[in-house]
Subunit: 181 residues, 2 copies
């Protein structure tokens, strides 16, 4: 399974208005705290891989909420930032972090954001406020390898209907933006 | 938290009789399938570490059951096989295995065993039938670092009350025994 994802900087207020006009379905708003890891045996920035522990909770909850570990492989389609993702839920974020630390994987950076999600015609639209970085809209869907082009075109179409310009697509990850900031 | 564990080869039938006389509490009998991993950047046999994915299910169930990932550090007390363990449950064994594979950790060996457990005075007594290896009794408990000696003496005492000889303690792991076999 591949994740097709396009992201542009945006004024979130006007995007919310367009989503209401398009009658997109509001989903939960969550807070995500992502910790990215360095590997002991290769440079993830060089290999274009990532290893992440994500703690995700509803905006009005406290605690770790849901915890997931995710491996992201190198880009397979640069136009849409498509890459392979492998992910599973884990019971205990601290224990998982300790396993990684013992194996020589060290925390490289943490990114925290509030994500307001909507569903529209098979796509998930996410309005992101990224601490210390800015505001963005992401349009994403999951697809098989042979449907990547069609899924990307569909994501561009959704962006246009939201009043956003696919040409402003940002290929830089929040992690990279945070490290640049 | 440290795990103190002593293990001896045993005829399980006579141990079961002694456990009944001592009125030990029978716990669940489970089947464990353990996959041990090689690291890409160091030799776990040399560093005396281990990384494992364990699938554990009740003897009469099917499916993956409970899945856990565990890191075991080097021995800190050779007399009792005491080592640091870090562990968390994971939702999906196949996804966790795929994350490890993508990071360069390859499956090195698989050990399957049936474990019949009893509780006695703070210790867990486990009667193990290890596929292709043999029958064993393990006595274990968890303890803080400054209580390791007392916990080990207690485990030896439990073994003697089960009619077993602490001097027959086997410091070889099931993984090593399986690889030797």
């Amino acid at each position: 399974m591949y994740e097709v994802e396009v992201k542009v900087p945006a004024e979130l207020e006007s995007v919310r208005d367009r989503l209401a006009e398009l009658e997109a379905d509001p989903l939960a708003t969550v807070v995500q705290e992502d910790t990215y890891y360095d590997a002991p045996h290769r440079s993830f920035p060089d290999t274009d891989e990532a290893l992440r522990i994500r703690r995700e909770r509803r905006r009005d909850d406290s605690g770790d909420g849901i915890v997931r570990i995710t491996y992201k492989g190198p880009l397979v389609d640069d136009d849409s930032k498509t890459r392979e993702e492998v992910e599973t839920g884990v019971d205990d974020a601290e224990e998982m972090a300790a396993i990684l630390a013992n194996l020589g994987f060290d925390p490289a950076a943490t990114v925290q954001k509030t994500r307001e999600r909507f569903a529209l015609e098979g796509y998930t639209i996410t309005l992101d406020v990224v601490d210390g970085v800015g505001e963005f809209v992401e349009v994403e869907t999951e697809t098989d390898e042979d449907e990547i082009d069609a899924a990307r075109d569909g994501a561009f179409d959704v962006l246009e209907r939201l009043g956003l310009d696919p040409d402003e697509q940002l290929r830089t990850s929040y992690l990279e933006l945070a490290l640049e900031g």
